[in-house]
Structure formats: structure tokens, C-alpha cells
């Protein structure tokens, strides 16, 4: 009975989303190939960011709302390569290289702050995100071009310092996605998609009954796959084991000599650095950087997607990430059109998905806290049952 309840409780969120999507997809009237194309693009764009959330969850630090710190570090890296005019894959890698030390420093700071606020890591990291956003804005808006050398006039505001609101990332736009140009076509008209945007594409496979063609961001997917391998490997290391131990019981881990605070900081640093790379991958797909807004929603959308994938505050797997990306973005794509077709107002679908993002986080948090309090109760009860031999 309890097992069934747990099964339902653990998978209720994805199930609801599958049902919503099942209704909304026909309403939207999108073709399968369009949806698959969009989903593939979004998987490539967002999965890395979401994967960066896994490690703090493993270490029992909850959802790392502080991942926006990493996103900001990545953006600073991108701003520099834009200024220097480094393009293509070297540009992306260089942006990562520049972003890494910034992300590490921010991560260490975040880790120390969170160690001071044990038990309320989430709200603290959330506010920390806002705080660092202030510092980031000060840096980018006032110090860049004044103290920090930025010379490219295309980047700077007309007043001579501060970075413009929108920065074009033409130089690295889609470089990773199109590194290995790959498409899937239907059996019909295979030839006409052989070259897309002047680049020769490699046809991966032909699927009958598929209309049109689907371009696959193969290199991005490979990077994400490598990252998944990294996480699987990381779980097997001593460090991963220590994090799992800390996640389950800080006091036991501490008494067995595991450096709890240090390990927690490492978890946050890793998450922040990965979020930095994730943001760079995300922006290379988008092609433009909204200097002051791009990172705003990153944390919220990534967390919502992870939760929709069936993860909870204390447990998340790689499968949750991909289930989450697919379900969340499926709704993202179809909700406005479905809303328009249903009620005649696209705005409603727009608001609906915002509501769903926040609502799902709220519900997950509530369920987590509720379950935790109930488990505490149950643990107490079991203590009674075991005492003595009655």
C-alpha cells in the first residue's frame, strides 16, 4: 500500500505533464517533425544547465538556486571573447576557460555562505543569486569599459562604459550545434536537405513517414552525453560517495571524519562551474546575449524542468533531467498555441506556462517539506517500536 502510494507520489508530476501534453499537442496543430526538431534543439540547449543541478542535490543541499552565479560567470566569459573577437569553437572553449575561475570563486563564496545557513540552503542560495546579480550588474554596467578593459565599441554603451543590453554572439552562434551537421529526413526528398546554410550535412538516417527534415545538434548532444558519463563516474568516486553520505546524514559523515563543510563547498563549486558551461552552451544556441536578463530565468526554468522530470529536492537522476527537459519544453512549445486555439488568446498559454513553472516548484517544495516532516514522525515512531523487546 505504502509502496503504491510512494510510486504515485514520486511520479505524479511527470504523469500530469504527460496528460497535459497529450491534450495540448493535438490542440496546437504542430507537426511531429516540427515538435521533434524543437525538442531536440531545446534538449541541446538546456540539458547541460539542468544536469549541473544534480551534484548539490546529491550532497543534500537541495536545489541549487545559486546556479545563476555560474550562468553569470559564463556570460562574463562570453563578453570577453566577444570583445576580443574570438569566434567559433575556440571562442566557446576560451569563454569556458575564462568563466571557470570566476565560477570557482563565486562557487567558493556561495559554498561558504551556504555553510553558514545550514537548513535553509535553498532560500539563501536564491537570495544569493539576486545579490550576486547586483554585483554582476555593477561590474558589467559600470566597471566594464572603465576598469575592466573592453574596447569593442559594438559592445559598449554609447557613453563609453558599460555593456549594451543585447550583445550579438554571431561569432559563436550554433558552432557547437552545427559542428557535426546531421539531419534526419523522411524518405521523401532526401536530396534537398543535403546542404543547409551552405554547410554540407551528413544524413544520419532516413525514417519513412517523416515529413520534412530534422537537424540534430549532434556535437552538443555528444557533449551532454560526455557530461552524463562524468556524473556517472563522479558518483562512483570517493568524493561522490562522501557527498551521498553527507546528503543523508551530516552528523554521521562528520563523525566518520569526512570534511563536511569542505565537501559541501566542492559540490557547489562543481555545480557553479558546470552551470557556467551550461549557460555558454545555451547562449551559443540562442545567438544573442541579453546582458542583464539572460541569466534571470535560467535557474528557475532549469529547476522547474528538473522537478517536472520527477526529481525531488533530495533525489534526482539523469533520467529525471531528460524527462524534465522533454516534458517542460513540450509544454513550453505547445502551450501558447494550444491556449490560442482553445481560448483565442496566446497570452493565456504564455502565462499558463509561467504559472506551471512556479507552481511546480512550489508544489515540489511543499511535498518535500511535508514528506520530510512525516518521515521524521515515522522515524520517531519506529524508535518506539524497537526499544526493548515487546
Amino acid at each position: 500500500m505504502r509502496k503504491i502510494f510512494d510510486l504515485v507520489a514520486n511520479n505524479a508530476v511527470p504523469a500530469v505533464f504527460i496528460i497535459i501534453s497529450a491534450f495540448a499537442i493535438p490542440l496546437s496543430g504542430y507537426s511531429a517533425s516540427y515538435l521533434i526538431q524543437e525538442l531536440l534543439t531545446r534538449i541541446g540547449r538546456n540539458s547541460f544547465l539542468i544536469l549541473s543541478l544534480l551534484i548539490p542535490i546529491m550532497a543534500g543541499m537541495g536545489l541549487n538556486f545559486g546556479m545563476v552565479l555560474g550562468a553569470m560567470a559564463g556570460q562574463i566569459g562570453l563578453l570577453f571573447i566577444c570583445d576580443w573577437g574570438v569566434v567559433g569553437i575556440p571562442g566557446m572553449v576560451l569563454a569556458c576557460l575564462i568563466g571557470t575561475p570566476i565560477a570557482i570563486v563565486l562557487g567558493i563564496f556561495c559554498g561558504h555562505v551556504l555553510n553558514r545557513a545550514k537548513g535553509r540552503e535553498m532560500v539563501t542560495s536564491y537570495i544569493l543569486g539576486f545579490f550576486i546579480n547586483g554585483v554582476y550588474q555593477m561590474t558589467v554596467l559600470y566597471l566594464m569599459g572603465w576598469v575592466i578593459p573592453i574596447t569593442n565599441p559594438a559592445l559598449l554603451l554609447s557613453r563609453g562604459y558599460g555593456v549594451r543590453n543585447a550583445v550579438s554572439l554571431l561569432g559563436i552562434r550554433g558552432v557547437l550545434d552545427n559542428l557535426i551537421p546531421t539531419i534526419i529526413t523522411g524518405t521523401q526528398g532526401a536530396g534537398q536537405f543535403l546542404s543547409v546554410n551552405g554547410a554540407k550535412s551528413y544524413i544520419l538516417m532516413q525514417i519513412p513517414f517523416l515529413e520534412g527534415a530534422i537537424r540534430i545538434p549532434l556535437a552538443t548532444l555528444v557533449v551532454i552525453a560526455l557530461f552524463c558519463v562524468f556524473i556517472v563516474w563522479f558518483r562512483k568516486t570517493k568524493l561522490g560517495q562522501d557527498m551521498r553520505a553527507i546528503g543523508q546524514s551530516q552528523s554521521v559523515a562528520d563523525s566518520s571524519g569526512i570534511p563536511v563543510n569542505r565537501t559541501r563547498i566542492i559540490a557547489i563549486v562543481i555545480s557553479t562551474v558546470l552551470a557556467c558551461y551550461g549557460q555558454i552552451i545555451y547562449l551559443q544556441n540562442m545567438g544573442t546575449l541579453n546582458t542583464y536578463n539572460s541569466h534571470d530565468q535560467t535557474g528557475m526554468f532549469s529547476i522547474a524542468a528538473l522537478l517536472i522530470g520527477g526529481a525531488s529536492v533530495s533525489r534526482a537522476t539523469i533520467a529525471n533531467v531528460f524527462a524534465g527537459v522533454i516534458l517542460f519544453h513540450l509544454m513550453f512549445i505547445v502551450a501558447p498555441v494550444a491556449g490560442k486555439n482553445l481560448i483565442g488568446d496566446a497570452q493565456i498559454g504564455e502565462y499558463f506556462r509561467v504559472f506551471v513553472s512556479y507552481g511546480i516548484i512550489a508544489i515540489s517544495l511543499v511535498l518535500h517539506a511535508w514528506r520530510r516532516n512525516r518521515e521524521r514522525e515515522a522515524a520517531r515512531r519506529s524508535l518506539r517500536g524497537n526499544k526493548g523487546g515487546e
Binding site: T237, K238, Q241, S249, S251, S255, I258, R380, R384, N386
Partner: protein
């Protein structure tokens, strides 16, 4: 048992004072390899302090270290952290489980000592990026478990284990440490069923034969006697006895543990108003025959009470307290004596019947208990007893304000504002009468010393003008001067107002000196109720879980 002349561990005149409060003095004994030592003593006899010293716990060094010398293999050592003790081969199994529930047995046994595969990355970062060698880990865990002679799969998750298994995993963890030569076990059998305890004892004997010395701390004297070669009895911070186990009977051990000069007991007590009834009156007969009520009517009558208080479970308790009596509840920590008053007051889920002057009390509702003019002083002064961040007058008058509507101005149920003037006046009255050392009623309760905080708690209870006063651990954590003052206050209050007082305390002597009768709780049940003047060893036997049956068995054997 000893091999050669140098003992494994030698304690030489160990002593310890906490803020002028002596808890250990002049403890000297040796432990040889392969020897099993039973360490017994009441709560507060100094066992945990002794362990803390041996393990170099920060509590000791931060409070000025200890006296005397500790030698391992004839060399002086002075540990400043538990890790140093571990490095010298001293292992410890705590009373509370220190296991990670979601991990397997092997993962727990090798926690933070995992077998690692080598990795080239480990130089760049640290060993922590090497992967775990699970096959080797499981093998090692299996070996450690096998040493104990039990059969537990290393793949089994701890959360799915019965409690007894967890205890074995804890011990296996210490055994796995390659250099472990001396193992301290703090009440390892407390959570075990009898059959499990037998397996454990067999395992420990096996372990000792392999050359590991074991110090076994337990309140189950029959087990201690069965397992140990030598028994050390600790009382009031002194080593009373160090004798081979076969020279002592459990009764002797018990009396050594609690035995004290009877002169220390203040036998001058005021008379109980009426005689305690020879036979417990059933509630029905009290209600059914109103004529009888003049003769005997217990102030408090508890029947088949169970309380679900974590760590202090009460299973089935029945007793009666006469009006005007001071009734003591004693027993070892963790056996449920604290659960009784907490349960009666409704602080923890409870069941059974509690009658107050013949009328049934609604359980599980603190408000109901308070409404019946019962007052309660919690053992958890800082957690439950006080508002640390609020001034004294709040602390003293709050309960009376909320339950009796005093210290308020305005119309009841509609609009009532607190009467700060009255609150302060009341607080001042108690500050004077109990001589609470503070700057005034406006001082925050958290800033007072332990003894004065306890007085505030008493004042809080007195303000309620209770018919029955339940007090838990009135003297825990306060200095000697304050101790006698608190006890005297209680006695005086009882004498002046005729209030029935129920005191729960771990200190038997204290109970015997204040109370008329003392009930001893053992494993969630009343082991017996004795007049305070009974010999100490009778209390000791009740406390140690030595029922008449055990005793007879021993004598016949």
C-alpha cells in the same frame, strides 16, 4: 589474559572538574589485551566523562583538560581529538547509531575508509577523485562481519535492517579498522532483543580471544556478569570496585553502584497526611461509593499509561499519588521516567487513564492538564522550559496568562491586553522570594545561569498556584548551592501549600532525600514503588532490571 607486563591501556589517577564541579577523581586501572571489562555505574557516575577523556573529545580540552596520565603500551598519550584516539587503536561504538540509512552494510562499515582504485587524477586533485573498488570493499566488509560470527550480507541496505543488525554493523566498522585493539561499547545491548544480545555477547567473546580488549558498558548486570572478566564499578566519579566478575553477584554490583552511607539521606521528613492505602483503590469504587471519598482519594491516579516520547518511551505504567505527598520517579536514563510527567501533561502522544482527584484527565492536550491546575517544570529547560529570548516577567507569567487569564486587562474573549505592570510585579515577587540573581524582570532568560533559570522555571510553575506540581530533573546541570536551594524550595512549598509534588530525577539520593515514596521505572514500566527510607540497594536492584526472578535464579545457581 595479560601478556607481558605492560598493559594495553593504563589510567593513572585520572580526575576531572567541570567549573569547580568534580565529576571524576583518582581513577586508576589497567586493561590488558584480550580482556573484557565491564564498566558499570549510575547515570552521572562519570562514565561518559571518562570516555570523553579517553577519546580526547573537545569538551575536555575546552574545559581545562584532565588530571592524571593515560598510557598506551606504557607510553604517555594525551589526545586532543577523537581522530588521535582512533589512530592509537581505540574504537568506540556509541549508544546512538552512527550509520547512514541509505548505504549498504559494506558502505557503512568502510565509511570514509573506502577501498579506492588508483587514479592518475588523484595527484592533480586528491585521492577523493579515485573511484571506489566495490568488490574489495564488500570483501573487507564481509571479513569484518564474519569476525563477529553473524551472517549479514554486505549488500544489504542499513535502512532495511533490524536494529540488532545495525549494532553489529557499528561494531564491524570498528573491527575493520586495522589497528583497533581496544573497543569501547556503550550500552550495545540496550536496543537488542534477548536472542540478538546473546549473539552479540558470543561475538564479543570471540573478538576478545583474537586479542582485542573490550570495555563493555551496560546496565544489564546479568549480561555484564556473563561476558566480562573484570568489573569496574563507578560511583560519584570514583572507582569503587575493580574485581574479577566471578567474585561478584549482580546484587552486590547493584548495591555497589547505588550504595551510599545512609547518613547522607535526610530522613527527617514531614508526615504524610494519610496512610497510603494497602490495596490500590480502583477508580470505579471511588466513584461508586462517595462515602469512601473522605478516607482515601488519590490526588493522581495513573493507569496503564503509555507515552510516545522519543528516547523515553513509557509502556505501561500505573501508580497513585496521595494528596500532599512528594512522590519521586527514578530510574535510568532512557527507560521512560521522563516520559511519565511529559505524557501526563500532554506534551507527547500518550494513552491510558489518568485521574486527577477522581476525575479523568484529557490526555494529549497541554491546555487540559494546565486547566486542571497542574503545573509542569520540564527537564529540557532551554528547549521547553523557557523563552530564552524574552524577559523574565514573560517567562514567569506567560503560562498563567494563557491558561488562567491572569495578568491581563480588558474584557475576556473580546479584547485583552497584557498588564505589564502586574507581570513585572509578580516577577519581582518571585525574584525576591527565590532569590533569582538577575538585573530585574526585564532581563532575558537566556542570559541567566543554569540554577537561576531553574528557579525561573519553578516560579513559572508556582505562579499557576497548582494543585499538583510535576517536576523533571530539578537539579540537572546546576551547581550544588543552587541544588539544595531548589530542593528546599520544593519541600517548603509542599509544606506550606500542601501541594502534591511529583519529582522525576536521575539522582536517586536526591529523590530519597526529598520524597515520601519513590517509584523506579525500568524499560517503560514501574519496577517497584518503595518508601524513601528503604535501603539503597533495593532501589539499585529495581533500577538494574533485576527482577525477583533473576535473583532467585542466581542464588540457586
Amino acid at each position: 589474559m595479560s601478556e607481558g607486563n605492560t598493559p594495553l591501556l593504563r589510567l593513572d589517577h585520572i580526575g576531572k572538574e567541570f567549573y569547580g564541579n568534580r565529576v571524576l577523581s583518582d581513577i586508576s586501572f589497567d586493561i590488558n589485551a584480550g580482556e573484557i571489562i565491564g564498566l558499570v555505574g549510575e547515570n552521572g557516575a562519570g562514565k561518559s566523562t571518562l570516555l570523553n577523556i579517553l577519546f580526547g573529545m573537545p569538551v575536555i580540552s575546552s574545559t581545562g583538560g584532565h588530571e592524571g596520565k593515560i598510557q598506551i603500551d606504557g607510553r604517555n598519550v594525551n589526545f586532543t581529538s577523537p581522530n588521535q584516539a582512533l589512530a592509537h587503536g581505540i574504537g568506540m561504538v556509541h549508544q546512538e547509531f552512527s550509520l547512514i540509512p541509505g548505504f549498504t552494510a559494506a558502505e557503512n562499515i568502510l565509511l570514509n575508509r573506502e577501498v579506492l582504485n588508483g587514479s592518475s587524477m588523484s595527484y592533480l586533485f586528491s585521492d577523493r577523485v579515485s573511484t571506489l573498488n566495490r568488490t574489495a570493499m564488500n570483501e573487507r566488509a564481509r571479513a569484518a562481519i564474519n569476525t563477529l560470527g553473524v551472517n549479514i550480507s554486505p549488500y544489504m541496505s542499513v535502512s532495511e535492517m533490524p536494529v540488532g543488525y545495525k549494532q553489529f554493523i557499528e561494531i564491524a566498522r570498528e573491527i575493520d579498522r586495522k589497528n583497533t585493539r581496544l573497543l569501547f561499547l556503550d550500552e550495545p545491548t540496550a536496543v537488542l532483543a534477548e536472542s540478538e544480545a546473546e549473539i552479540l555477547i558470543a561475538a564479543l567473546k570471540k573478538l576478545a580471544r583474537s586479542g582485542i580488549a573490550i570495555v563493555f558498558i551496560s546496565h544489564r548486570l546479568s549480561e555484564v556478569k556473563e561476558l566480562c572478566h573484570r568489573i569496574l564499578v563507578l560511583r560519584d566519579g570514583r572507582l569503587i570496585t575493580d574485581r574479577p566478575a566471578d567474585e561478584l553477584t549482580t546484587r552486590q554490583i547493584a548495591s555497589l553502584m547505588v550504595g551510599r552511607q545512609s547518613s547522607s539521606v535526610d530522613l527527617e521528613k514531614h508526615e504524610i497526611p494519610e496512610e497510603i492505602p494497602a490495596e490500590p483503590e480502583t477508580a470505579d469504587s471511588v466513584l461508586a461509593s462517595p462515602k469512601k471519598k473522605k478516607k482515601i482519594r488519590p490526588a493522581l491516579k495513573v493507569e496503564h499509561l503509555w507515552v510516545d516520547m522519543p528516547g523515553e518511551t513509557v509502556r505501561d505504567v500505573s501508580f497513585e499519588v496521595k494528596k500532599g505527598e512528594i512522590f519521586g520517579i527514578g530510574g535510568l536514563a532512557g527507560h521512560g521516567k521522563l516520559g511519565i510527567p511529559n505524557g501526563i501533561m500532554g506534551l507527547y502522544p500518550a494513552g491510558g487513564t489518568v485521574r486527577l482527584f477522581g476525575r479523568k484527565l484529557t490526555l494529549n492536550k497541554p491546555r487540559a492538564a494546565l486547566g486542571r491546575k497542574m503545573a509542569f517544570v520540564s527537564e529540557d529547560r532551554r528547549g521547553v522550559g523557557l523563552l530564552l529570548d524574552e524577559p523574565l516577567d514573560w517567562n514567569i507569567t506567560f503560562t498563567a496568562m494563557q491558561t488562567q487569564g491572569r495578568f491581563l486587562l480588558g474584557i475576556p474573549y473580546i479584547f485583552q491586553v497584557r498588564n505589564e505592570h502586574a507581570m513585572r510585579r509578580e516577577a519581582r515577587k518571585f525574584i525576591d522570594s527565590l532569590s533569582i540573581k538577575c538585573t530585574g524582570p526585564g532581563q532575558l532568560a537566556g542570559e541567566l545561569s543554569g540554577g537561576n533559570q531553574q528557579k525561573v522555571c519553578l516560579a513559572k510553575a508556582f505562579v499557576l498556584r497548582p494543585n499538583i506540581l510535576l517536576i523533571c530533573e530539578p537539579t540537572r546541570g546546576i551547581d550544588i548551592g543552587a541544588k539544595s536551594l531548589v530542593l528546599d524550595t520544593l519541600k517548603e512549598y509542599n509544606r506550606e501549600n500542601g501541594t502534591t509534588i511529583i519529582i522525576t530525577s536521575s539522582e536517586l539520593e536526591e529523590l530519597r532525600s526529598v520524597c515520601n515514596r519513590v517509584a523506579i521505572v525500568d524499560e517503560g514500566k514501574i519496577a517497584g514503588i518503595l518508601p524513601a527510607s528503604s535501603p539503597a540497594e533495593d532501589f539499585g536492584m529495581l533500577m538494574m532490571g533485576q527482577t525477583r526472578h533473576d535473583e532467585e535464579g542466581e542464588e540457586s545457581a
